[in-house]
Every structure is written in C-alpha cells, then in structure tokens.
C-alpha cells in the first residue's frame, strides 16, 4: 500500500506538477513542431513515453553498474586488471556520452522491435521514432535519474531503485503526452482564428504554453499535501522507510 501511494505521488508530481514541458521546459522543439494535429501529437507523445521508459531503464543500469563511482561491474573489471588495487573507479565523466548513445540505441531498438512485432503500432507512431533521439525529454529524464542512482561511496539524498526510475520516466513521458495533446487540441481550434500575423506559429504556441503553465501551477503542492494525508499516522515509521538504505 505504501508503495502504491509512493507511485501515485511520483506520478502526480512528475506528470502534472513538475510537468516536463511546463515546469522543466524540455521537449519544446517537438512541442512546437508536432502539435498541429491531435492525432500526430498523440503519436509523438506515445512514442516519447515508450522510448523514455526504455532509455531510463538502460541508463539506470549503466549508471548503477558501470558509470557511478565504485560501480560493481567497473570495480570487478578493475580488480581483474589490477588485483589488490584500492582505487575507486569513477567513470561518471562519461555519463553524458553514454546516455546519448544509450538513447540513440534505444530508439533504434524500439523502432526495429515495434516494426517487426507490432506493425499497427509502428504505423501509428513509427514515423516519430527517429525524431526522438534529439528530444530533450529523454536525455533530461536520464540526467534526473542519474542524480538519484544509489552510489556506494557517497549517499544520495533520495536514492531510486530501477523501479522508481522506470515509474519516473514513464510519467515524465505521460506528462509530455498530456502537454502536447492539450496544445494540439488548442492549436486545431486556433487554425481558423485571426491570430496576429507576427505571433502565428511558435509565438502563439509559446503564449498558450505560458497560460497552460499558469494553469498547471494550480497543482503545486498536491504531492506534498497528499503525502501528508496518506502517510501512516505514526511519523517515525515513515522516517524509517525513508531511511531505507540504498539497494
């Protein structure tokens, strides 16, 4: 039950309160470019959700086992090469490079897999897949997860296991989906409106995004309050669970 609550809170927080587009400003290029029709917007959002979840899993695994300071796989390799060494291997400088290639690879993988096994799905959002490699939502999600991957050496403020990383990534994608579909609905409506010429296209999209961001501010604090309401009554217990050591 506690776990479900925490999933719910993470979902609300990621998809609504700290929405990728309206709070973190990421994914703006497709947000402007692919939000003219509701169906294409939905396809784009679904594709992003799909890829971001997979990329998040891969990057969490890479970070935890290979890249983080003192990561087990790297350490094992190090011991093989130089037995008895006490140095802590830290490959975190390679983080960004690894992430971007993990994403590119995930996109390729997803594209091949979907084309082969789910042709209808491929038809509905396959065209968006190659575009996604440079979608900042994905890299941003990987970077956020990076901050929370538990590290042996230095304790992380809020360690996330693979499961939390996956949930976070999935709802980050859902947040993007919500934003882009809302925007597409509005822009379809605007198609025949007399928008001032200089504002047509990106200008009006930004202003609408601004108003949407204003509206989404209404969700602020919802996760905190919910957490307080749903938390089991004796507070020390929750402190224990929060203090659960990193896996």
């Amino acid at each position: 039950m506690n776990y479900l609550v925490s999933v719910l809170l993470l979902a609300i927080s990621t998809a609504l309160i700290n929405n990728m587009v309206f709070h973190y400003f990421v994914g703006n290029c497709p947000f402007i470019g692919v939000s003219r029709r509701v169906d294409t917007a939905f396809g784009m959002g679904a594709a992003v959700t799909f890829v971001v979840t997979i990329a998040a899993a891969l990057s969490w695994i890479m970070t935890y086992f290979v890249l983080a300071p003192g990561a087990p796989l790297t350490a094992a390799v190090l011991r093989l090469v130089r037995p008895g060494s006490t140095a802590v291997a830290d490959l975190s400088i390679l983080n960004y490079i690894v992430y971007i290639f993990v994403i590119a690879w995930a996109v390729q993988l997803v594209e091949m897999y979907v084309r082969k096994f789910f042709p209808p799905l491929y038809k509905s959002f396959g065209v968006f897949l190659p575009l996604i490699t440079t979608n900042c939502v994905i890299l941003f999600t990987c970077l956020e997860i990076m901050k929370h991957v538990p590290v042996a050496g230095a304790p992380v403020a809020e360690p996330w296991g693979l499961d939390r990383a996956l949930i976070f990534a999935f709802f980050a994608g859902i947040g993007f989906l919500i934003a882009i579909v809302l925007m597409a609905g509005i822009r379809e409506e605007l198609e025949h409106c007399d928008v001032p010429a200089p504002l047509r296209g990106p200008g009006i999209t930004m202003i609408i995004a601004g108003i949407l961001a204003l509206a989404f501010l209404g969700f602020t604090g919802m996760d905190t309050t919910l957490a307080r309401r749903l938390a089991p009554k004796p507070p020390p217990a929750s402190a224990e669970t929060a203090a659960r050591p990193a896996p």
Partner: protein, 347 residues
Amino acid sequence: MAENAVTPIAPAAPPPAAASARAAPAKPAPALSVAPGPHIASGALTTRRMMLDVILAALPLLAVSVYLFRQYAVFQIAISVIGALAAERFFGWMRRRPNTLGDLSAAVTGLILGLSLPASAPWYVGVIGAFAGIGFGKAVFGGLGQNIFNPAMVGRAFVMIAFPAALGASAYVAPTLGVDAVTQATPLTAFKMMGSVAALKPLFLGMTNGSIGETSALAALIGGAYLCWRGTAAWRIPAGGILALAILAGASDLTGGSPWTFAHHLSSGAFLFGAFFIATDPVSSPLTPKGQWIFGAGFGALVLLIRAFSGYPEGVMFSVLLMNSVAPLINRWTIPTPVGGPAPERK
C-alpha cells in the same frame, strides 16, 4: 412584356431602388433586396445583449461587495473595468481594428476580473491584470470569440502569480474596512492554514472575507439563476460543477473526511461565482450539451481537488483555466452523431 400594365406597383426588372423611384416619383416602388434564406431572424438575443445580461446578473454581487468593502470595492472594480476597456482599445488600435468596446465583452472581462480580486490589492494589480487578461487571454488569439481561455481568469492568474503577496492569503486582511468579518483571513485560507471551520450561514450570505465578488453564495445564486434563465449561461455547466463538487465532497464527508463539509465547499470561496459567471463564458467552454456536462463536472472536481490537496486554498481560477485548455478536446470528442447517423460516404 407588359409587366407594368399587369402589376403597376411591382418592380419590372431586378429592382435598383433609385431607378424605380425615378420611374414613378409620385409613389415610390418598394426596393426589394435579395439574399439567401432564412429571411427572418429571431433577434431575441444579440452578442451585446448576452454581455449586458452578465452585467445585470452581477448586480447582486456588486451590491454585496459594496456593502462589505465600501469604496475599496468600487475602486477595484472601476480600475479593472477601465483597464480592460483601455486594453481592448489599445490592442485593437495596434491591429488597426475598428472599435470593439461597444460589444461590451471587454467591460464584462473587466468586471469579472475586478470581482475576482481582493479589495485590498494595490491599483496596479487591476491594471496589469486587465492588460494581461485582454492581451494574453484575448487579443493574441484574434479577439472576441476566438480566445481559448477566459480572459478574466488569465489576467487574474497572471497577477496572482506575479504579485503573490498582494493576492496571497495574508493580503485579504484589510483593517481599514468597517465590517468585522472582513478583517480576517478568508474562510478557505483560515481552514487550510489553521483548520478553523467557518459557520455556514455567513458563508452563504457572504458576511466573510474574500475576493470582492466571491463572498456571497446567495448573490451568486441569484445572478446565476438569472443568467441560466436568460440562456446566456449554459445551465449544464454550473449544474455539472455543483453536482460533481457535492458528490465528491459528500463522499468524503461520508467516509469521515474533514469538518469542511460539502455545504461549506459549495458556499465558500468563489465556487458559485465561478460556476455561474466564469466557467460559463461561452467562448471558452464547450459547444455541445454533453461537452458542457463534462466541462462542468471537470470544473467542480478540479476545484475540490485543488482545494483539498494543492498548496492553494482556492481552485476556481486554476480549474477554469485547466478546463478551458481541455475544452477543444472535449468539443472534438463530443461531436454528436447526427439524427439518422453519419452521412454515408460518397463513392
């Protein structure tokens, strides 16, 4: 053809008025116009009349607000209305458009904005709110009838986020005012922050603190009833909103929720004012009856959610904006099937 011989008065040819008049100067032949049908129109309602209805319906709210907040209310509303009119004219001028003040829509925006501000807000809040509302909420979309969001709520959200101290919880305290009840925090804020529950009767009558126009549930009901009776407001929206809020809050009451019961929720804050005056703005709400139900219900549910769980004590403004943003999708998803089913595809 000897048409004139047969029908001396009927125009002989396609009738240019002047020519006929010259032909028979003594008894001018009628000038007939040609246009596609229908040739009669109801004329019972015009856009201008709809706007006037809103202003009329707001009179009870105005009366309560002037009673409660005295000259502060008058000042705030005047600032907002003048600001909105100036903004409408300014943006119209920027686009070289004819004067549109006559349709009264800008005045209504200003009025709703003024009613939704606290009496104690400084003067620039009303002006900036009006300009932001008309500018971001209306002019950039192309003017009347084309906006997606309720302009008054865009303006209010803008100033609320821009000047949290002027509109935030504490700012309602206006010690210079005469009536005791209005020198305290608003009932919703007091409940959210300190858990103190206000009595229902003053909540309903409006003898509490709050934004200028929101205090009295009774006045909002009277004005709202007038709007629905006139048909200016789609009754399904407030009905959906009230139902959703009452059901959700009632369910939480039954499960032993909070001392703030569904009756409190209904009569406190801007809920009824919003349900009748703001959410029903035709431009930014759905067109279809089914869509209006969904819109209303979504509005009510969001108000409750935001009140209960978000950091803000009141959720009417955010709910309206959020539902506005969904309205195009609702419209899209609730296109009714024509009687007799969709037209068959032509081969």
